[in-house]
Amino acid sequence: MNWRVAEVVNVVPETPRVKTVAFDVPGWPGHRAGQHVDVRLTAEDGYQAQRSYSIASVPDGTRVELTVERLEDGEVSPYLTDGLRPGDRIELRGPVGGYFVWEPSQGGPLLLVAGGSGVVPLMAMIRARAVAGSDIDARLLFSSRSWEEVIYRGELERLGGGGLTVVHTLTRSQPPGWAGYARRVDAEMLVEVGPSPSRLPGVYVCGPTPFVEAVAEALVELGHEPHRVRTERFGPTGGE
């Protein structure tokens, strides 16, 4: 799989620590929601660093958007979030991955469970659903630390309805008057958000490893068949 030149089109802040970088990638072959790319940075002296990032956008010609959380001790993410400006060029290759993917033709219902920036590949699925004009029953349970740290907050509000239900839980702090969930995702919450295991939903879980471990285990205990629960995890450094 070849490396391609990717030119920065724009950089948009999502939250204080998260930005979306849009690239123009000539020759981009298209992708499916949930797939990722490898990014390669090269220093003046030839030193290189690579990382993988989920694609946030739906296929749109040669445009590819990555939503990146800045990790303070990270080698690549601070450069992507704070070092890039329009016209800069990096390299990427992809799309990669054929398992943690969803297309509207796969049908529903759909249960998406996101922890923090784990929402990125799930947002690609939500956007793919919207672009297809699909009314498939889709539910997103999205755990963030605070209201300010909810990635894609405005867009999720706009996309809600028409079969898409978005439920937030805020684990560290909540705005005044917050009536929603204010704890980590647990079995009771998963039952309330649904859909029930008997409807055989396709389930996608993405977030930090402890989050994914806990959610996947709760889902299996609730009766979701393990093979319907697809997971993607990132560790403190493993998913940078």
């Binding site: 799989m1 490898d38 660093a49 070092g83 398992y99 560790g235 403190p236 450094t237």
Partner: protein, 201 residues
């Protein structure tokens, strides 16, 4: 294509020796987890390990029998296709040579199979001759379920997805049968030093 220089990028440079870190990898001190679904939890009394497929006679060990086999402590570097490498990891396991000792086979390939349905494929010669183990301890402790316990393959010279977690046996085969990641876009062989990450690499 010669690489594009990224304006202002310097990199962290962890000082890791080039002869131990394959191209495109970075060294981590954590032990990240990568798996495609929920973590299986197999009670030891319901665990066994078997050698099946193209063999003169299938073999099977209970957990107790397996643990009574001679085991080795091995210190190896491991390389995950998601870019992290971890140096000097310490494992205890049973050599695949021990498990295949006395097995008559004309097979050229092996498919480790796991709880949860995971499979991966390797040439048989990549798991024999002191190159692979069925590991049951990491860093002196029983292997945690999220890292593949009770037992996982350890094939450190290939990308780590070849080291199947929750392994329950080896199926020997005359033909090469691509496994879970191998049919989902990842390289059939997976040599980190050749950077064989994906189809076509």
């Amino acid at each position: 294509m010669s690489p594009i220089v990224s304006r202002g990028f310097r990199g962290r440079r962890d000082g890791a020796p080039n002869d131990r870190v394959p191209p495109g990898q970075y060294v981590t001190r954590d032990f990240p987890v990568l798996s495609a679904g929920p973590t299986p939890h197999r009670p030891l009394e319901l665990w066994d390990f078997s050698i099946v497929g193209e063999v003169d006679e299938p073999r099977r060990w209970t957990w107790e029998e397996f643990r009574a086999l001679p085991s080795e402590e091995v210190t190896v570097d491991i390389h995950c296709v998601t870019k992290w490498s971890k140096l000097d990891t310490v494992w205890q396991g049973v050599s695949v040579d021990t498990l295949l000792d006395g097995v008559e086979t004309a097979a050229e390939y092996v498919v480790p199979f796991s709880d949860g349905g995971y499979t991966t494929n390797l040439p048989l010669e990549d798991v024999t001759g002191g190159k692979a183990w069925v590991a049951f301890a990491y860093d002196g402790e029983p292997l945690e379920p999220e890292h593949g316990g009770p037992a996982r393959m350890l094939v450190p010279h290939l990308y780590f997805w070849k080291s199947a977690k929750w392994v329950r046996g080896l199926r020997l085969s005359a033909i090469d049968e691509p496994g879970f990641w191998e049919v989902n876009g990842y390289h059939n062989y997976g040599d980190p030093w050749q950077e064989q990450r994906y189809w076509g690499d």
